[in-house]
């Protein structure tokens, strides 16, 4: 593995008095897709949201341990969360396009960063929509409301919106759980294409999805990391019995 882009060392996390993550140690490889899997409530979404500090929005949360991004501790006092989120983007479970035009959605992040030049905006929006495999379907109707798109298209729009600002990492929190199989397949293909540009971390409760589109898989249970290895190893010969039980559906 190249030098990891994210490193977690003994990461612990609490929602108020309740501890949700226990001593998590993991290294995320750059330009690869890493999947977090595990049964409901195992802490995978919580961990994901620690990476771009979205958990800060919830009252009473506490972090202990080390979480570094490119070697820098992201919970250090001098870290600008706003800047952090420009470099670590997120796509959510339920697609959440803004009630604006398709163009304005993708351009939102760019405009916030101060981009006003029309040509530049047009170019960046088109490039993002192309990378998100949505360009052909919307190129003639960029001014239409984003809410007119189908569920799968909306989620691809959200992906285009997130990558428009050229983050280093894209976090995906169960991006396909609200979509039908065809839309899901399109996005899984897309994830494999996007690897060349970004590091992708995806949380999924569908382990087959993790098998299909990730290079590394981390299996969590009750807030602990049980096993972390290449996806191929995890799904053909996991080292841990709990992992094997989960993979083969013999859990619980």
């Amino acid at each position: 593995m190249d030098k990891p882009i994210i490193e977690l060392n003994s990461l612990n996390f609490w929602y108020g008095p309740k501890q949700a993550l226990f001593d998590v140690n993991v290294q995320i490889a750059p330009h690869r897709t890493t999947a977090f899997i595990g049964p409901s409530g195992c802490g995978k979404s919580t961990l994901l949201r620690c990476l771009n500090r979205m958990n800060d929005l919830i009252d009473g949360t506490r972090v202990a341990g080390n979480l570094t991004f490119n070697g820098q501790d992201i919970y250090a006092a001098e870290v600008d969360v706003i800047e952090l989120r420009k470099r670590i983007g997120m796509v959510f479970q339920k697609s959440n396009p803004f009630p604006k035009s398709i163009f304005d959605n993708v351009a939102y992040g760019l405009r916030i960063q101060g981009m006003t030049n029309k040509d530049e905006l047009n170019e960046r929006v088109a490039a993002s929509l192309r990378k998100a495999a949505l360009w052909d379907e919307v190129k003639d109707r960029l001014d239409e409301s984003a809410l007119m798109l189908s569920g799968g298209q909306q989620q691809r729009l959200c992906i285009a919106r997130a990558i428009a600002v050229e983050p280093e990492i894209v976090l995906m929190d169960e991006p396909c759980s609200a979509l039908d199989p065809t839309a899901t397949a399109k996005i899984e293909e897309l994830i494999q294409d996007l690897e060349q540009y970004y590091t992708i971390i995806i949380v999924t409760h569908n382990m087959q999805q993790a098998a299909r589109c990730s290079d590394f898989t981390a299996f969590f249970y009750l807030g602990r990391l049980i096993e972390f290895d290449g996806t191929s190893k995890i799904f053909t010969n996991p080292a841990n019995k709990q992992t094997e039980d989960y993979i083969t559906g013999r859990f619980g």
Binding site: E83, R85, N96
Partner: protein, 298 residues
């Protein structure tokens, strides 16, 4: 059998309620429609105010609209800002928040006459007096009933309505939109300004419509703070007093020398007041509908 009785009872109650509205409206229209004429609506008070043939209510219409406009300009920014603070920034169970909410609830329950006295004591005498002392060397400019003070009083009175309506609208904005914006590296303020408020706009307008409804109709708060029952000319400055449809009706019904003679003017004025209120509401509803449809279809 029980179901039918229930349907009958609820239908009957509904009918009763609707019928009341029609009875009231009908009574007003019946007695007032005769008074409505271009001269009545657009004429002034140059000739006798108490004479049915010569009375005109244009100054009252003008004053009412001016009051409503200034009130809205005051209450909407303050109300929206307060609602934004409460919903987006305040920690829901902190003592400070609870105090603020308590204050808003209490404000909503204050009788309108109390607002009138408050307006007189605080705005006219305290604030007005202070301004006169600071900028006019004691000369009388602000320390008197004026359009600005009546508007301010009405703004304070309608504040709870705007705050509540705006808060409801803000709560209705899905959390996902805020998250999406923040995840792109927007600040909280940018998110509120660019995403949340635009989405909540129809609700804010609802609050404004409700406020306007009260502003056009309430009399007690403006009696001491700016309304006058007879002025020779329209107000030209916000330090002027103004005439008001609701106040005019009050005056007509309590001060007129001959109640029979002024009855038609009374009903005419009420009808005009209702019409103005209705049109203001309608304008608000249309604006809100237009904004909603533009939000749906981009």
């Amino acid at each position: 059998m029980k179901a039918r009785l229930f349907t009958l009872a609820t239908g009957g109650a509904t009918f009763l309620a609707v019928a009341m509205v029609f009875v009231i409206l009908g009574n007003i229209v019946w007695h007032g429609i005769g008074q409505i004429s271009p001269h009545f609506v657009f004429g002034g008070t140059k000739e006798g105010m108490f004479d049915a043939a010569t009375a005109g209510v244009f100054p009252m219409i003008f004053g009412t609209l001016a009051l409503v406009l200034l009130m809205t300009l005051g209450v909407v920014p303050v109300g929206v800002t307060t609602a934004v603070y409460l919903n987006e920034y305040a920690r829901s169970h902190s003592p400070v928040t609870r105090v603020i909410r308590g204050a808003i609830n209490n404000l909503a329950g204050v009788p309108s006459i109390v607002f009138g006295l408050f307006g007189l004591g605080f705005f006219v005498q305290f604030v007005g007096g202070g301004l006169d002392n600071m900028f006019y060397g004691g000369q009388l400019h602000y320390r008197k009933p004026a359009l600005i003070w009546a508007s301010a009083t009405m703004a304070v009175m309608t504040l709870p309505v705007v705050i509540v309506a705006t808060e409801e609208a803000l709560k209705a904005v899905p959390k996902g939109l805020r998250e999406a914006s923040l995840a792109l590296g927007a600040t909280k303020l940018e998110t509120i300004w660019k995403i949340v408020l635009p989405e909540a706009l129809p609700g804010v307008i609802t609050g404004a419509i409700l406020a306007i409804g009260r502003g056009a109709g309430e009399v007690a708060p403006i009696m001491f703070t700016g309304a006058a029952y007879y002025l020779a000319h329209l107000p030209t400055n916000w330090t002027d007093q103004f005439m008001h449809l609701g106040y005019h009706v009050f005056v007509l019904s309590t001060q007129s020398p001959d109640i029979e003679r002024t009855k038609p003017i009374l009903y005419g004025s009420v009808l005009v007041l209702l019409a103005v209120t209705f049109l203001l509401n309608l304008a608000g509803v249309l604006v809100r509908a237009r904004i909603r449809s533009r939000m749906r279809h981009g």
